[in-house]
Amino acid sequence: MTISLTVDEIHRLYEKGDATPSEIVRAALDRIEESQSSLNAYLTVSRESALKRAETLDSGIRDAVRVLPLAGIPVAIKDNMCTEGVRTTCGSRILGNYIPPYTATAVKQLEAAGAIIVGKTNLDEFAMGSSTENSAYGPVRNPVNTDYVPGGSSGGSAVAVAAGHVPISLGSDTGGSIRQPASYCGIVGLKPTYGRVSRYGLVAFASSLDQIGPFARNVRDAARALSAISGRDVHDSTSAPVSAPDYLAALTGDVKGLRVGVPAECFGEGLDAEVKERVEAGIARLRERGAEVVDVSLPHSRYVVSVYYIIATAEASSNLARFDGVRYGYRTQQARTLSDMYRRTRDEGFGAEVKRRIMLGTFVLSSGYYDAYYEKAQRVRAMLVRDFDSAFEKCDVIATPTAPTPAFKLGEKSDDPLAMYLNDIYTVTINLAGLPGVSVPCGETRAGLPVGLQLIGSHFDEARLLNAACALE
């Protein structure tokens, strides 16, 4: 049985009695296991627990689909979200044996909505990367063409959906880690407004930028997943006390009168010609459906990559200090003194990209450099927020490419961190501004690689954002 199905399709099977959660989940697990050698999308497959949970749902599933929005739906979780009793590695050697004693709020919410977790997905170590080549457990490959990267850092979760294993997966997005892989794999990827989804249990990379969000094959399923994981969490002081509407109900597909802002800054130098063409065609489709396209400006766009890599690495250098070999995770076997233990544990436990970012972040926060880097970056960040505030006076959503190029080949940028960082140029902005953004497929290149269009909404305006995205499908 193939399960390249949407939630609606699976629910129809359940309602008609044509399938049971056990059958759907077993099919998903079989496909996952078949794909592992070629795609390497999972770090842990929870076959037993998933089947057990599916069985408990089997008999009552017809009723369950009416009350639980994700009843009997297999889902995959990026392996940087804590799952009680299930290894959570963050794609790092340093957490290779780490089993959390609690479950992340967003994962709990997904389960409460009826979802069944089939596995934990591969990622760039600690979510640091744009290609999922930085995992200590090997790179993930793009199911569209396995010579290509799936994007990152949530590469495994993107592939889980793109390869048809599950209709929904969770990723985390700090600078584009949901939207860029969604774009590379030809699926929908949503980064909610900062504070929309609880971060409790998400292993922090950059706390002021991190946000959990869903991957799905269509906007409806993304909306469904967002409804399930949204809301105030008493365990996360940065989660917003803003109630979440029914995002599914907002999807009318009607965009008449919607003002779509197009910032010239995002269509200039460095943008692949084919990507530009596809994205402009996507914007034209919105216009055909009655949307009004307006020019907007984001004058501080050219600083975003620098600002992002200062703030993100600064926070990361502090967030990753807890991995010291003292209480949990990997500890070197050969240290003689405390400082030696720290040094060797972290040297042996972290990969090259993580070390690079810890060093960069430590540097920008150190005394004598703080003002020149971190402090200045925060000031520019504030200007960026103002750029968006004025842009949103003229429009309701903003359209840009998700990434400047389609997926690249494995190894193509591994030796050039700067080129890799520049890949984030259109996505990091909205993390800095805390805005919601969604990448929607808008065709493919002549080589058959998917292209994504990014729509950006104003704070907590996911309903309108998703509706606009819906109109592009």
Binding site: C82, R199, S207, V234, S237, S318, R322, D324, R327
Partner: protein
């Protein structure tokens, strides 16, 4: 201090706020529980866990800040102080840095130098500036002296305990000023109930920044920081040692280096822990997991209105209102419960001086010998007040009162009850006293003769006999007068 030199001292006091649960999670703050029993993902610094500020911590911090004359900032910011240590589970401490909870405070604290024997000289009030007081979390504890000598252990029960760090201006010129100031802070925080002040258990810890300069010099000397002084006595001794060390060093042609030092009580010395070169770069930056702490001005006023009268103000009031001596007022206001008790005795007895005498001499002595606190006193304040009244209205004598008091201590009964049960009501019936006097005189002819021969000191003997014969119940004043009248009248 050596002639020609002046010390400049600044103090950082860490006061543990006595909340039931920790600052960023619901774990208990109880002291002495099984190691690592009071921990959870948050205070263990597990991956993905996030801090949530305990509201009670803000309340306590606000009470403390207001009691120390600090201005509470309407918005303050939590920052991360980054350093590696095994008992610091996140690799950073959540503290406050460039926008602290409160700033610009000061106290007027009584202080005095002590002589060689440690006796206070002349008490005076001195103004000590307080730069800031900010909220932060405590780290855990590393344990090196148990089990396998090759291993160290970490106990994270204390991790996440709320602290208020109170940073003073460099306003202290002697170790005794520092001693008196920290004692004052401790009393004040205990008084308003936000810190138990237990220095042995680490509820109050102190770091001292010490430098010396030639008298009259304007520039401060290079300072050394002495860390983790966990008793007032250590603080005072460590500062004195450090002052002497620095003066000797400079006079010998050396230079003080900026460094962190530790006090070793056994050797009575400070020794270097790390130099400025090795000093940590804490890489402070705003804590992204916590929004700015916003405090409404109206709320601050509510807290202010709810504060009890502070010990210094109360001490002054006791002197003015109750006519107490400075020392008595000092002792009585040292503990809030004691001051409350005293005022209740005053209210019940209507006699503030007698109340002070009974509380300070009789009651405190009894409590001390029983090893109990005023809050555990069996003698209720109203009962002590009633006892004083019984003396005042001559129902019982002062001597009988002491016996009654001893019974009150033992049984907790009301004095009236004890007096009634034991038939201790004073004899004020003059006829009855005259009868006893006549009997006593008749029974002691030799003494009578001696008295009449001019040995009037024998009056005391007769008083004693009369009191004895009355079972101690005769009104002593009446006994005196009647005896004198009889002894002298018959002598003529």
């Amino acid at each position: 201090m050596k002639e020609g030199w002046e010390a400049v001292i600044g103090l950082e006091v860490h006061a543990q706020l006595r909340t039931e649960s920790k600052i960023f999670c619901g774990c208990s703050t109880a002291f002495g529980d099984e190691p690592n029993a009071n921990t959870c993902p948050v205070c263990l610094g597990l991956p993905g866990a996030l801090p949530v500020l305990n509201r009670r911590v803000v309340e306590y911090a606000a009470q403390a800040a207001l009691a120390l004359g600090l201005r509470i900032n309407t918005e303050s910011i939590f920052s991360r102080k980054n350093y590696f240590y095994p008992d610091l589970p996140k690799g950073y401490q959540i503290s406050q840095y460039d926008r602290p909870f409160s700033e610009h405070g000061a106290v007027e604290a009584p202080t005095t130098e002590r002589d060689e024997a440690g006796h206070p000289q002349e008490w005076r009030l001195k103004h000590f500036g307080i730069t800031r007081a900010h909220i932060e979390e405590d780290a855990g504890k590393s344990v090196h002296d148990i089990g396998d000598p090759g291993k160290s252990y970490v106990n994270l029960n204390r991790s996440g305990t709320p602290l208020l760090e109170i940073v003073s201006e460099p306003d202290f010129r002697s170790s005794w000023e520092a001693y008196d100031y920290v004692g004052f802070l401790r009393r004040t925080l205990q008084y308003i109930g936000v810190c138990d002040g237990n220095m042995e258990e680490g509820s109050l810890r102190c770091d001292a920044n010490v430098s010396v300069r030639r008298t009259g010099a304007e520039k401060f000397g290079t300072k050394a920081e002495i860390k983790n002084l966990n008793s007032l006595r250590f603080l005072q001794r460590a500062i004195d040692y450090e002052i002497d060390r620095q003066i000797a060093l400079i006079e010998a042609g050396g230079e003080v280096v900026q460094e962190t030092r530790l006090w070793n009580e056994r050797e009575a010395k400070t020794y270097s822990m790390r130099s400025k070169e090795d000093a940590h770069d804490y890489r402070y930056f705003p804590e992204p997991d916590l929004p700015p702490l916003e405090v409404a001005a109206e709320w601050v006023e509510t807290v202010r209105a709810g504060l009890p009268e502070l010990p210094e103000a109360r001490r002054r009031r006791f002197i003015g209102e109750y006519g107490l001596s400075v020392d008595d007022a000092f002792t009585l206001t040292g503990q809030r419960e004691l001051a409350d008790y005293y005022e209740a005795v005053v209210k019940a007895s209507g006699n503030s001086r007698a109340a002070a005498n009974w509380v300070l001499s009789e009651l405190l002595r009894e409590l001390k010998s029983g090893g109990i606190d005023i809050t555990g006193s069996k003698v209720r304040a109203e009962h002590l007040g009633a006892l004083i009244k019984l003396i005042e209205d001559s129902t019982i004598s002062g001597k009988i009162a002491k016996d009654v008091f001893a019974d009150m201590v033992a049984t907790g009964k009301a004095p009236e009850e004890i007096v009634r049960e034991k038939g201790l009501v004073q004899i004020t019936d003059l006829g009855a006293i005259e009868k006893i006097v006549a009997e006593v005189i008749a029974a002691n002819p030799k003494q009578l003769e001696a008295y009449r021969a001019g040995k009037t000191a024998l009056l005391g003997f007769f008083v004693g006999q009369v009191m004895k014969a009355s079972g101690g119940k005769a009104n002593p004043q009446a006994v005196n007068e009647i005896l004198k009248a009889h002894l002298e009248a018959e002598g003529r």
